[in-house]
Symmetry: C2
Subunit: 234 residues, 2 copies
């Protein structure tokens, strides 16, 4: 995979990966001081950077072993550690060591998921199947689903969603989905049929308008759709 040592193609994707890592770490810092909204936004920002670093790496043909390793480390922090600490401090900490065990369980499952994914890159030459299907819920989606109770809480002020037992159950389900062999379509690599282009643009516009006008409600709807899609496949 080490093919194009061009300056820009090497450094742009890796710099974006490092930005994603910094967002994930800073999210931990804000979780600790109970600045929940900032912590959530930093995880979302990390997922946007994560999308673009992969996109740039493919466009600039700069994907390297080094980039894949760095991406794995950054993903683990932003979508494994940051969400689990956020949910722990926000809700699970009431359950003390049981809450901490479940937060650890989520991080461990994220590590297993990412290690399997990154190790697979080296095993076989990439087939089309590998590009289209992830095996197990990818960590950014898992991070989003783990934060669903927070989104509902912020939008509707339902105090029930801060309940530690509800969050415990949610985190356990998502952790198991991560290490399961459930197939997942990777949006990044689908070659959409051209006739769907206007529809897809419309969908993207609806998402953007939704997020700008009511970020929490949009996140609730997106997370529920993803959740339902996974349960249909089970």
């Amino acid at each position: 995979m080490e093919q194009n040592p061009n300056f820009i193609s090497r450094y742009i994707p890796n710099s974006i990966t490092l930005l994603s890592l910094c967002c994930g770490l800073s999210s931990v810092r804000y979780s600790i001081i109970s600045e929940w909204k900032i912590a959530v936004f930093l995880i979302l920002l990390a997922s946007i950077f994560d999308f673009f670093d992969g996109w740039f790496a493919r466009k600039l043909k700069g994907d390297s072993n080094f980039g894949a390793e760095l991406d794995s480390l950054s993903d683990f922090v932003s979508f494994g550690i940051a969400p689990s600490l956020l949910i722990f401090f926000w809700s699970l900490s009431e359950l003390k060591s049981i809450g901490w065990s479940v937060a650890l369980f989520f991080s461990v499952c994220a590590a297993l998921r990412l290690a399997r994914f990154t190790a697979d890159i080296y095993l076989a030459p990439k087939t089309i199947n590998k590009k289209i299907y992830f095996v197990g819920v990818p960590s950014p989606a898992a991070a989003l689903l783990s934060l669903l109770p927070i989104f509902v809480y912020f939008e509707f002020d339902f105090y029930f969603f801060k309940n530690p037992y509800l969050n415990l159950l949610n985190i356990i389900i998502i952790s198991l989905l991560m290490i399961s062999k459930i197939p997942t379509v990777s949006l990044k690599s689908i070659n959409f049929n051209k006739k769907y282009t206007p529809l897809i643009i419309l969908l993207i516009v609806i998402c953007c308008v939704g997020i700008i006008s009511n970020v929490w409600l949009s996140l609730v709807i997106i997370s529920i759709i993803i959740y339902v899609l996974y349960f249909i496949q089970l």
Copy 2:
């Protein structure tokens, strides 16, 4: 590297890696609630597990791509994120965003170091040189050096060592050592000459006795020796 799919040889090293990861994450938890001593011990425990997982993987010939990836993720948490957050909360937080930037810098350098190291495993067939020399200070050594001011503070009660500017300088130096090309002898792989065996056993006994009778002083001495050894090579 995927050669021996034996149950024990696969699961023992990876389980030890996961224990190391859990120690690293729990260290973060204790740093946050200012339980500095527990946080330091958990990082030290993680480094012991880290040593043994590599050792078991070699002995049981169970080293796999998956194990290497998992090890990289666990090392990053235990020796990149946990020490930087510990030093941040213990001292650097007085400097607010400057302190945070330096903590982030340490984590980013640890990520770069680990990504380079893991990516290199796949690049070339392992040569003897690769086994004996690490390039750049390895992350467990870096973690130990970054904690040196804490060890001194606990042993001698010198309040000066909690000074954020001193810690800032220390963290920056170690971060740069991590991403430098400084060669490092890997203790794990040296084939010691048999006539040195009694000497080495004596050295190990002295270390163990020292750590049991006065843990902080021993850690101070070990860290200073490592520090000096690196600066001799510069």
